[in-house]
């Protein structure tokens, strides 16, 4: 009955969050590569060091887990009268400085909830100089993405050429029709002029009447029609409640593309219970906060210009940042003061994959034991801006996979004996899930 604090969670996933943060920070703190040396340090090296060591807790302009560091040296010198030597001492061993009773050290320690800054004894003075140079340099905004207009023109060009081809084709068809009509007309005129009598075929029954009189043909066609309609009706019935492609609008526009695609976050980092439970689990908001405590705004993927379709749909940086804000309001995070307000309201996600109650499905069986990629069933999630149901989730679909997929028996003592015996029985090298008993009703229905 332990009380859980988010801080425990933070410490657990600090390593991962650091990496994730770095991926973001490259763009967030992108600076001109050609920045000049400032105050005896290499800005470029400093940036690299900053991103590796400091960025998890410090932002340049914004308060984060620790204070913002833009022109930190200058500010310290002016406000507190502290020199670079103090900074060396602090960075290398902040706890030591606090112990000495240093007034400012203790003040800042208390201000940030008595969270001690990690000691960096491995950083040399030169490294620190570089970092300080970086913090002192004027951050440059990343180059604006290529103008949407230019790109827009590009695609317009493409569209235009398509239309041109279509138009040309239509024109050709038009000319053909015109030619046929005029040939027919002139032939008739020729006949009239030549006085040729066209044979009167009035006695001949129209083809549909002849058809209607032939009972056998009618019977055959009725049967054919019934069978075809039954085929299509069956096909239509079978897709009732198959919600492939279901992509509802969610209360927070969460982009799997940005998280799993651009930033390559492992699926099971957020959906951790897929490893041990039947549910993959929608991550609780404290999992989001592991990273989003530091990532308060979205500034695009470094080096990749936003697609114009996305921009057209309104997926701008501001839009994404607003989504992060709605996460903050749901979890109750005050991003200015960097603390929880305690006022939270759970997010009501719209569930996309709905299995009926009479089906038992266990994620851990498939993901952990079977070693199946999430994408096998959920599709290219890392490319989905809006999450959608990729697979039909019908029984036929399940069964088919069970027939085709081999059981992952390697290095699993549980399977050793049963696999040896069964594969001998069936005379195969690798057993499928079906041969293992994966087609029995009671394995999924109880």
């Amino acid at each position: 009955m332990k009380k859980v604090t988010y801080r425990d969670q933070v410490s657990k996933v600090l390593g991962i969050s650091l990496i994730v943060f770095l991926l973001f920070s490259i763009s967030v703190f992108a600076q001109a590569d050609s920045a000049a040396d400032t105050a005896g340090g290499d800005v470029k090296k400093g940036k690299a060091l900053f991103n590796v060591n400091c960025a998890a807790c410090h932002n340049l302009k914004r308060k984060s887990t620790g204070p913002n560091l833009y022109k930190v040296e200058e500010r310290l010198a002016e406000d507190e009268g502290l020199d670079r030597e103090w900074l060396y001492a602090w960075i290398k061993n902040s706890a030591g400085v606090i112990k000495t009773g240093d007034a400012y050290a203790n003040k800042i320690y208390k201000e940030y909830n008595q969270t001690a800054m990690t000691a960096f004894p491995t950083l040399s003075n030169e490294d620190i100089n570089n970092i300080l140079a970086y913090t002192a340099a004027e951050p440059t905004t990343p180059p604006p993405p290529p103008g949407p207009e230019a790109e827009f023109n590009g695609t317009q060009q493409q569209g235009f050429s398509n239309e041109l081809i279509l138009g040309a084709l239509a024109l050709v068809f038009g000319i053909l029709v015109f030619m046929l009509v005029s040939v027919n007309k002139s032939l008739k005129q020729v006949m009239k002029v030549n006085g040729v009598e066209v044979e009167d075929d009035g006695k001949k029954l129209p083809i549909w009447k002849a058809f209607a009189k032939n009972q056998f043909l009618v019977l055959i066609s009725v049967i054919f029609l019934l069978l075809t309609s039954a085929y299509f009706a069956y096909g239509w019935m079978m897709q009732v409640d198959v919600n492939k492609g279901y992509a509802p609008i969610q209360p927070i526009h969460y982009s799997h593309k940005i998280h799993a695609g651009d930033n390559k976050i492992e699926c099971k980092y957020c959906h951790s219970s897929a490893r041990k439970s039947k549910h993959s689990g929608i991550p609780s908001l404290n999992v989001c906060m592991n990273c989003h405590k530091s990532i308060a705004e979205y500034s695009g993927t470094p080096g990749v210009a936003p697609l114009k379709e996305d921009l057209a749909k309104g997926y701008t940086n501001e839009f994404y940042s607003a989504q992060i804000d709605s996460l903050y309001s749901a979890v109750g995070w005050d991003k200015i003061n960097q603390k929880y307000t305690g006022e939270s309201r759970p997010v009501e996600w719209v569930r996309i994959h709905n299995l009926p109650d009479f089906v038992y499905f266990n994620h851990s069986q498939h993901v952990e034991v079977g070693g199946i990629e999430c994408q096998t069933c959920h599709g290219p999630v890392e490319e989905m801006e809006i999450m959608e149901q990729f697979s039909p989730l019908t029984m036929g679909w399940c069964i088919n996979c069970h027939r085709e997929t081999n059981v992952q028996v390697k290095d699993n003592p549980y399977y050793e004996k049963i696999h040896a015996e069964l594969s001998k029985k069936y005379g195969v090298e690798n057993l499928t899930a079906a041969q293992m008993g994966g087609l029995e009703c009671g394995k999924c229905h109880y």
């Binding site: 219970s273 008993g437 109880y446």
Partner: protein, 1039 residues
């Protein structure tokens, strides 16, 4: 060829001029159809402009709209935690060790929780004492989600705030200072070191505090006798496993005698090992669960039991024998005496008669024998009530000497025989507060009803047996605005400590002795390592003993002589508690109401049990009516001028002539849903808290409709259904003789039925193959498994009416059979001796006789669930293949595939398939737990809740076996023996149900399958079941 035949319906038609015939021919309806009647006001109908066509249009349109709307799937919301608790993984169960101590049931248990909801109770096998749960404990998880619970403090029906209640109580406590009036605490037995300390502190802080412990079903005389002899208000502990001979005088120790929990030890001694098993002789009036399991049962009225016990003492101690018994009873007693004398220390004598002399003699006998099964030095503390103190408290209340009355865990207005006296006393008390989880008669009468926690929401500790401690920890936070009594008491004492802090302080200072609190909490139990008893007490006890040696023996002598003179005027009533209801505190639990009594198999209500002979003289009958239901006469019972009207009668084989039995705990009315108000309140007759009363019984008009699950009582000489033998034959003869495999004719040769097969067998040697063994020797029929199955598999409750129509849904039933002759062996003999149709040995009359149970029959229990036949008759007849066989041996049932033809149920030779005649959830017609959101929280999320129109049945807990397999796969390891469990096998603390994988050759189940006692039910049918039974062995050794 045309015919001129004329057909006529009526003679009048032959007359061509009959006007009536003509009129009938013309008019379709003889009379004008009374359209005005059903169309109502003609004028308004005409003025309305909706004509028939419009109406049809509307109907058409709305039907189309409804079906179109149905095409759109519902939007399902999924709401994750904001901050997920560290220990909760959605979809994975966590288990917590806790203890139930509700004043009647005391046991260490494990609670399975899913997403923070307790959903199932399991036995705590780390507990050496009280680690076995019974049906009530298994069902107690549902009482947590009882929709009729008190959801906050109330006063006279109005909701109040806790602060108001606190203020009122605190000011009353202050006002009472110096007034000379009492502050009375009337509570259940806690057996809790911390609560005792707390109440002691409360006493120290306030003057005139009077703490009275009250057990609804008292063991007062046993407590008095023990206290007189050993100086502590407690009950001797018995270990029936160590006894070779168990002699019981009316002690139903397999259910609730002296707090219960003795059945697992008993069962261990009952399984023949190395040719030995215990012998059990029962002298009793009612047919109890214990009597049903006895090797020899002698039906004796309580007064005769007393004489017999007196004789037993005299004969053992060699003193003069007084009193007289009838011939065969005397021989039974004499043979018991002889057997005890042969090995005194291996015998034990117990009694459930509420009589000071009886209890004193029982203790004296066990002491005299030096019984190894008898342990007075580490007594049980689970009953501490004091009838005398309760009586004097009521006196004080009526005398206006009580200023403040606080009750907790008791319902005296319901369970006191003199409830009216209590009520008048209560009116003279200035302020009264009743702690209760449910609204009841007491909370109605007191000033305040303090809504208290369910035990699964509480903190606490229990000392079930001296030196054996258990902890109660909450498994869910309070569902409602409730408080536990101890927390409130701390608050009123002005302490800002929580009860949890209080317990940890007590434990670290005086119980743990340096051991880890966290470990104790995780285990749920803690056994004090070193010297257990309080050194001070031990010394004084020793002194007492020496001093009192002489007086005790003289008092025993007088006790024996007073027993010899016992006689009864008229009928003797023995009040008892049922394993399904206990003292009645869980009466609003639908699982328990629907739980059939193991002996009578009647659910939903209590009744008076009458012997066949007495029923005949009184003109009482039981009869099966046309719809298959059981009906019984009504009687009026009068004890000392208090009478109960309209008590239904069950004619009970084995009931001692001259005695009747009636169970306590039923008849609750206040705070109960109408469906749950079943039975009569027998507490009204529980005078002086004595379970034996002299009663006047009169027949009254009318017939009661019972909901009885099993109508056929005997085995009809079919010894192959429950195979049994005697210990002597078991030890001396080959198993082919006493465990005979039926033979069939193949090519005109007699061959064993097991060798003949209609079908080709599948290869089941690879992977797991589940089997279940049911040991008929270890099974006492207690029914814990039935409720465990209910909870695990979301089995619906169907209500009294449906049970009466034989539509009960229990996946697991425990059949009870009586012998028609003296014993089942005699039944078999009688059937074998049938010769011809009529005559003395004719089968026509003979089978009729075999339907009638004997006056004192042998009893046998047989749990029957789906037998998971390898060649299942149900599978071959299903037209939609909804039931099929798995390689692991389970007969699987795909509910979503079932169309409800019920062919399978018809073709099942074991009758274990159940049909959902109705939708039992979200249906107001079945207003039980599955009809409200609170009650549905107990539903197991891994098992489907079945809908109307499908067959369901035991799945051999496939959800549990699959989980075990998955866990092993995930961990990459083999499965150990004992890991596979079903709900029933894990609930069975008697070890009667064993489950496992027979392909694991080292496993217990594989060993049991090869046992000589193993047999399959209806072996000759050739179904090859995966459930097997172990032959019942009776120790009939009389010499």
């Amino acid at each position: 060829m045309a015919s001129n035949k004329k057909y006529w319906k009526n003679e009048a038609e032959l007359n061509p001029n009959d006007s009536i015939v003509e009129r009938l021919r013309q008019n379709e309806f003889v009379e004008q159809i009374p359209v005005d009647d059903f169309l109502g006001d003609k004028e308004s109908l005409e003025s309305s402009n909706t004509n028939r066509r419009d109406f049809l249009k509307y109907v058409g349109f709305s039907t189309a709209a409804a079906s179109l709307a149905a095409c759109e799937g519902p939007v399902v919301k999924s709401i994750p935690y904001v901050i997920a608790p560290e220990n909760i993984v959605p979809g994975v169960a966590s288990y917590y060790a806790t203890t139930i101590a509700n004043g009647f049931d005391f046991a260490s248990i494990l609670v399975k929780t899913r997403e923070g909801r307790p959903i199932k109770i399991e036995n705590n096998d780390r507990a050496k004492v009280g680690g076995a749960s019974n049906a009530r404990i298994q069902a107690s998880v549902l009482s947590l989600y009882d929709s009729t619970r008190l959801q906050g403090p109330t006063s006279k029906g109005e909701n109040v705030e806790w602060s108001d209640l606190d203020a009122a109580v605190k000011s009353k406590i202050n006002a009472l200072k110096g007034s000379g009036k009492q502050i009375a605490l009337l509570t259940q037995t806690y057996a809790s070191p911390s609560t005792s300390r707390l109440i002691a502190e409360f006493k120290a802080a306030n003057e005139n505090v009077n703490h009275v412990t009250y057990d609804a079903i008292a063991e007062d005389e046993a407590l008095n006798a023990f206290e007189a002899k050993y100086g502590q208000r407690a009950l001797a502990d018995y270990d029936f496993e160590k006894a070779d001979l168990i002699v019981s005088f009316g002690a139903d120790f397999l259910s609730d005698w002296q707090g219960g929990g003795y059945s697992s030890g008993y069962s261990k001694g009952r399984v023949p090992k190395n040719g030995k098993m215990s012998r059990h002789v029962q002298f009793e009036a009612n047919m109890s669960l214990t009597g049903a399991n006895a090797d020899k049962r002698v039906a004796l009225t309580p007064s005769l039991q007393k004489i017999a016990l007196g004789q037993l003492y005299s004969k053992l101690s060699g003193s003069a024998v007084k009193g007289e018994l009838l011939g065969n009873m005397q021989t039974a007693l004499d043979s018991v005496v002889a057997q005890i004398k042969r090995n005194p220390s291996k015998a034990v004598v117990v009694s459930g008669i509420d009589d000071a002399n009886v209890q004193a003699i029982v203790l004296a006998i066990n002491e005299m024998l030096g019984s190894q099964a008898f342990n007075p030095s580490q007594p049980r503390l689970v009953r501490q009530g004091n009838a005398k103190a309760v009586a004097s408290l009521i006196g004080d209340m009526n005398a206006g000497k009580v200023g403040l009355l606080i009750t907790d865990g008791v319902n005296p207005m319901f369970s006191l025989p003199n409830a009216a006296e209590f009520k008048s006393g209560l009116e003279k008390v200035d302020l009264s507060v009743a702690f209760s989880s449910n609204k009841n008669a007491t909370t109605e009468a007191t000033t305040f009803a303090a809504a208290s926690n369910h035990y699964l929401e509480s903190w606490g500790d229990v000392e079930i047996k001296k030196g054996h401690y258990s902890l109660i920890q909450p498994t869910i936070s309070e569902l409602f605005d409730t408080r536990q009594f101890q927390g409130a008491l701390l608050n009123w004492m002005g302490s800002d400590k929580s009860y949890y802090d209080y317990i940890t302080a007590i434990w670290s200072s005086s119980i743990l002795g340096g051991s880890s609190w966290s470990q104790a909490l995780q285990d749920g139990v803690f056994t004090a390592a070193a010297s257990v008893a309080d050194p001070v007490n031990v010394v004084s006890n020793a002194d007492d003993k020496e001093n009192e040696e002489a007086p005790v023996s003289t008092s025993i002598a007088s006790a024996v002589s007073s027993l010899a003179n016992s006689n009864a005027d008229g009928m003797e009533l023995v009040l008892y508690s049922k394993v399904g209801m206990g003292d009645g505190q869980q009466a609003s639990n639908p699982w328990l109401q629907e739980f059939p009594d193991p002996i009578t198999r009647v659910s939903w209500g209590n009744y008076v049990t009458v012997s066949k002979a007495d029923a005949a003289t009184l003109g009482l009958v039981n009869e099966n009516v046309a719809n298959g239901g059981l009906d019984g006469s009504y009687v009026k019972l009068t004890v000392n001028g208090v009478s109960l009207d309209n008590v239904p009668v069950i004619i009970q084989p084995g009931q001692a002539k001259g005695s009747v039995g009636l169970s306590l705990g039923y008849g609750k009315k206040v705070g109960m849903k109408a469906e749950m108000q079943t039975g009569v309140n027998a507490y009204a007759l529980y005078q002086g808290m004595n379970n034996i009363q002299s009663v006047k019984i009169e027949k009254v008009a009318g017939m009661h409709e019972f909901a009885c699950i099993q109508l056929h009582k005997t085995l009809m000489g079919r010894g192959d259904i429950i195979k049994e033998t005697t210990l002597e034959i078991f030890n001396t003869k080959d198993h082919a003789e006493w465990n005979h495999v039926p033979v069939v004719s193949l090519d005109h040769q007699e061959v064993p039925a097991t060798s003949v097969d209609l079908w080709d067998s599948f290869d089941r040697s690879i992977g797991h193959h589940f089997n279940m063994s049911i040991d008929l020797n270890a099974c006492t029929g207690c029914g814990a498994c039935v409720i465990a199955c209910h909870a695990e598999n979301n089995v619906p409750v169907v209500g009294k009416e449906e049970v009466r129509k034989s539509r009960d849904m229990h996946w697991l039933r425990i059949d009870r059979y009586y012998s028609s002759e003296e014993s089942f062996a005699d039944d078999n003999q009688k059937k074998n001796d049938f010769d011809g149709l009529t005559g003395e040995k004719g089968s026509l009359g003979g089978f009729g006789e075999l339907e009638d149970p004997s006056a004192n029959p042998q009893v046998a229990f047989q749990p029957v669930m789906c037998q998971h036949c390898n060649h299942a008759p149900c599978e071959t007849v299903c037209p939609v293949a909804a039931t099929s066989h798995g390689r692991q041996g389970q007969n699987q049932m795909a509910y979503n595939r079932c169309v409800g033809t019920r062919y399978c149920a018809n073709n099942c030779p074991y009758k274990v398939r159940r049909f959902n005649w109705f939708l039992y959830n979200n249906n107001d017609e079945f207003d039980f737990h599955m009809n409200n959101d609170l009650g549905k929280m107990v539903v197991n999320p891994d098992v489907n809740v079945r809908s109307r129109g499908v067959i369901e049945k035991c799945s051999m807990c496939i959800q549990k076996t699959q989980k075990t397999i998955l866990d092993a796969k995930r961990d990459g390891r083999l499965i150990k023996d004992g890991e596979f469990q079903t709900a029933c096998s894990s609930a069975c603390s008697n070890g009667a149900i064993v489950f496992g994988d027979i392909n694991d050759k080292e496993s217990t189940i594989a060993e049991l399958k090869e046992d000589d006692r193993m047999y399959h039910l209806l072996e000759h049918v050739g179904t090859k079941p995966n459930v097997f039974y172990q032959v019942k062995v009776r120790n009939t050794n009389e010499a």
